[in-house]
């Protein structure tokens, strides 16, 4: 039972985080990242074992007999600091994106869209859409000398 409650909590945090991460809205993505990150931090805390005395020589906590694992807490601290820095950076990017495009959503990659629009037969970047006069990319062009392309 003592393990079940945090496990369910971790599962809930990470699933909510993943759900938010799949959004296109930047603020939601950031929130998702933070939620999932906190879920993972909780997971590390849990795998560090049961609670106990503070890991400082001579300090005891009421009724505890064992000492808590300091390593897990150290790792969480590092992870929290890192995610705080990244969150600040993402916020700055979000603001910049908003200033640039008045939108908070991740845009499509223009070049990617262009390439995927090329049909399978005309898979050639410099085929001008209506004008086939220039570069037909016939096989003989590969071994033609500059200025003597046979296909034109």
């Amino acid at each position: 039972m003592t393990y079940l409650v945090p496990l369910v909590l971790i599962g809930g945090l990470i699933s909510a985080g993943v759900y938010l991460l799949l959004d296109r809205n930047l603020t939601r993505m950031l929130l998702g990242l933070l939620l999932a990150g906190n879920g993972v931090n909780l997971l590390i805390l849990m795998v560090g074992g049961p609670s106990g005395n503070p890991p400082i020589r001579g300090r005891t906590s009421d009724g505890e007999t064992t000492t808590a694992d300091p390593l897990a807490q150290g790792m969480i601290l590092t992870a929290i600091v890192i995610s705080m820095g990244i969150a600040a950076f993402v916020l700055a990017l979000t603001y910049r994106s908003y200033r640039l495009s008045r939108a908070e959503e991740v845009a499509n990659d223009a070049e990617d869209a262009r390439v995927s629009k090329l049909s399978a037969t005309a898979l050639d970047e410099d085929r001008p859409e209506p004008d086939v006069r220039r570069d037909t990319d016939e096989p003989d062009e590969l071994d033609a000398l500059p200025g003597h392309e046979g296909s034109r």
Binding site: S97, A107, E111, L118, D126, G147
Partner: protein
């Protein structure tokens, strides 16, 4: 003076230099001097480390002396380990980092970046260098994670430098994907800690042997997913061609050369040190095959040279995963040699794209043409690494591929033979892609290019804020600064050295592979001779 003293320096020197360059932010010349000297010193240190690691065996340093303080617990503090593999990765990375910083400085001097707000470039670049070195030196999983985070945080800044619309868009996707991979890595760390109670890699490799096989495979799978995203292995590779091409040329070059290889290095460590036995080999072989083929087919469809090279980068990661997942000494040696070759050649090609942008004011094949006539030197500088990437003998790409093919045929299973076939096809298609760039950008007249009349108005240094103008009206594009040519030439020379000295270097990678697969050296170097 021995290896123990030198081992922390590849992290310390760039970190201190990063702080100094920040202080010198208003004095560009001083800033450049510090950055260049620091990275030159790192090259020297890494060369010495390689010598010591090869002569005396694995070097382990317990940072702060937190060594065997508690009996039976393993080292408590941070452990830095230099064996032959990490020494080689460190040296190659240091050379590439030095060449690229030279290139960036050369470009900056020529294009006057004193007038642009990019004094942040060199400090961030040095932090990136420190992160890369930390990852290669890390002797425990959490320190590896920290190394990854340091280099990722620096790469976020470098990728979005100038914060134009395109870079912000690419940067957001890159940040999100990287952070998700870090989270998965962190989950893996938590689960491994739960299963074994330690994160020191040497201690782990001893304790994980006692963990049930199913649990071991599950832990391995979590780590492979995390590292697979960083290394851009196929189903997890879509982020790379999307984000890399938007960055400035030197940044893309160093990302392409180093960041994915840090992921590959982590896969090597996880596969051989932590989870030997090849529980995931079949899945990894299939992933390697798909990485090669999907990557290179993607490259065929591209018209922007930077995007095209990003796809070939993804494709060639498949070769390394192929060599690793054969779980044989020759496969591992081939993979290590291939990593070194690929770091150098891929960085060189991206630097050459920077030169092409400089010379012709564009990097897309729709606008390029006639470069061979315009600049025979540029043609030569492109031609050699392009053939090298395509695997034409006698270049190093050929040697690496032959070793991998030999290892695959030695393995003899159906899947391995399919991989051998896939490698050959990928190699030929790489050559086709390179030939396509060559015929379009270098051989045909510029007038034949569909948009050959357009060009960038001025050379873009770090910020890409130039607009399009008619080719004839451009302002001072066209000459290649010596400061950009020298490092490119130097990296080509390093690539050729991998060919000329292929015998000794391949013998070294074989020794490195034996050491990696044996595990005993690593464990006894870190934990002492007790076990």
């Amino acid at each position: 003076m021995n290896g123990q003293v030198l081992a922390p320096l590849p992290v310390l020197i760039p970190t201190i230099a990063a702080a100094l360059t920040l202080f010198a932010g208003r004095r560009p010349r001083l800033q450049r001097t510090i950055a260049f000297l620091a990275l030159a010193a790192v090259v020297a240190v890494c060369a010495a480390l390689l010598y010591y690691a090869d002569r005396d065996g694995t070097i382990a340093v317990q940072v702060g002396g937190w060594g065997q303080s508690v009996s039976g617990m393993g080292p408590l503090g941070i452990t830095l380990v230099v064996d032959r593999l990490s020494a080689m990765m460190l040296l190659v990375s240091a050379i590439v980092l030095l060449a690229v910083v030279f290139y960036a400085i050369g470009q900056g001097i020529r294009d006057g970046d004193e007038h642009q707000p990019v004094s942040i470039f060199l400090p961030t670049y040095l932090v990136l260098s420190a992160g890369v070195c930390t990852a290669f030196l890390a002797g425990d999983l959490f320190n590896l994670f920290v190394g990854f985070e340091v280099l990722l945080a620096a790469s976020f800044v470098l990728l979005t430098i100038g914060a134009s619309t395109e870079r912000v868009r690419a940067g957001i996707a890159y940040v999100m994907v990287s952070m998700v991979s870090s989270l998965i890595f962190l989950i893996g760390i938590a689960l491994i800690y739960a299963a074994t109670g330690t994160l020191n890699m040497a201690e782990l490799s001893v304790r994980l042997d006692g963990v049930p096989a199913g649990t071991r495979t599950a832990l391995f799978a979590v780590l492979i997913v995390a590292f697979g995203i960083k290394a851009a292995v196929f189903p997890l590779s879509a982020w790379l061609p999307d984000s890399y091409p938007t960055a400035p040329a030197p940044v893309t070059a160093v990302f392409a050369g180093l960041l994915t290889k840090v992921g590959v290095y982590a896969i090597i460590r996880a596969h051989s040190l932590l989870f030997p036995g090849g529980a995931m080999d079949r899945i990894m072989l299939v992933a390697a095959l798909l990485t090669m083929l999907v990557g290179i087919f993607g490259a065929i469809a591209q018209s922007d040279i930077k995007r095209l090279l990003s796809f070939t980068l993804v494709s060639h990661i498949g070769y390394m995963v192929f060599g690793i997942s054969l779980s044989s000494a020759l496969g591992m040696a081939g993979a290590i040699y291939y990593v070194a070759h690929h770091i150098v050649v891929q960085t060189t090609l991206f630097l050459v794209v920077g030169l092409i942008e400089r010379q012709a004011g564009a990097s897309t094949l729709q606008r390029l043409g006639g470069l061979a006539a315009a600049s025979p030197l540029l043609a030569l500088v492109f031609f050699v690494p392009a053939l090298n990437l395509g695997g034409i003998p006698p270049f190093s790409g050929f040697i690496g591929k032959v070793a991998l093919l030999e290892a695959g045929s030695q393995d003899g299973s159906v899947l391995a033979w399919m991989l051998v076939g896939g490698s050959v096809v990928t190699s030929l298609l790489t050559l086709y892609v390179m030939a396509r760039v060559w015929t379009k950008a270098f051989w045909r007249p510029r007038a034949d290019a569909p948009e050959g009349n357009l060009s960038a108005a001025s050379p873009s240094a770090l910020l890409n804020d130039t607009e399009d103008v008619a080719y004839a009206d451009r302002d001072d594009v066209g000459r290649m600064p010596v400061g950009m040519l020298i490092p490119t030439g130097a990296l080509i020379a390093v690539g050729l050295t991998l060919t000329v000295l292929a015998g000794p270097i391949f013998a070294y990678t074989e020794r490195a592979a034996d050491e990696v697969l044996d595990r005993g050296h690593y464990i006894s170097a870190v934990l002492g001779e007790v076990r």
